[in-house]
């Protein structure tokens, strides 16, 4: 069972919020800890899924905003 602190560090890792030394340290740990690596893989997959549901607004909305951006 991965400890809470490590899970939080893992979240920081996949969101690239760890300091360089900690990032490197965790990267090394991933190579030697299958359970940690599995958790990391799942988080990365989840990020991938979250990116897959990104949607742009309609062109009509974009055009309406751009029209509102005109100074006159």
């Amino acid at each position: 069972m991965i400890q809470l602190v490590t899970q939080q560090a893992l979240i920081r890792y996949v969101y690239d919020e760890l300091a360089p030394d900690a990032h490197q340290e965790l990267g090394q740990a991933l190579r030697h800890d299958p359970a940690l690596a599995n958790d990391c893989a799942e988080l990365l997959h989840l990020q991938h899924c979250l990116n897959a549901i990104l949607e742009a607004p309609s062109a009509a909305s974009t055009n309406a905003i751009l029209a509102a951006a005109r100074w006159r």
């Binding site: 939080q8 560090a9 996949v14 340290e25 990391c40 799942e42 607004p57 951006a69 100074w71």
Partner: protein, 259 residues
Amino acid sequence: MNFVPAASAAPADDALLIARYVAGDEQAFTPLLLRYQTRVFTTILLIVRDRALAEDLVQDTFISALRTLRAGRYTENGKFGAWVLRIGHNLAIDATRCQKRTPTISLDARIGGHDTSTLTDRPRHDYLLTANARREAADQTPEAVIIRHEQNEQLRSLIQELPNTQRQVLLMRHYGEMSFQEIADATGVPVNTTLSRMRRALLKLRQRLASGGTAAALLMAVLTCGNPSALLPDFSPSISTDADDSTRYATGADPLCVR
């Protein structure tokens, strides 16, 4: 382990584009809009789950931001993306409160479906596929497209089912690109609480989504390049407010109200 700020949270030229726009260069707003509208729209849509309403709210969001810029009251230097997303987030939360108070408004309009009849007569669009799905559909079998569409729908539903505090952190971090420290500051809770909420949110989503072989492939890619953020998409190329809007946001119960 130490925090470092989210490096990609604010492209360096946001401030320059804002300065140009405020100085009268209308065209300077276009790249800002194109850079952030997808994340703002997605965040709003995940909260209200009504495409027509989300289209209205994304317009309201950016128009509100434009008013603040024009009035010279923009003070979020270097944080334009996070700021405009917070406006959109708060408008969406307000809208869902109105929906709950107004039972005649359809709550069944699904993001992936065509039933978008809600507040007013609004143009209908092609909702069947996400932008990403459209790009990928060309070299996918119909079955794969349908499965991906269903998975995306499932993920949207799961996100909406998250407790508000967890969903808030998830949306702000993933789509708003706010750092965990920035979210902690905005919500008035310790950063460890923010991380804990994010962990619980991700855990719930993970438990319900099957990853197949994609997860392992992504891990290998990260270990090879050493940079998880390199796998995230590069979003292509945001509003407060007149006095009424500012008051509305500042007095809302949501801790992420724009001030």
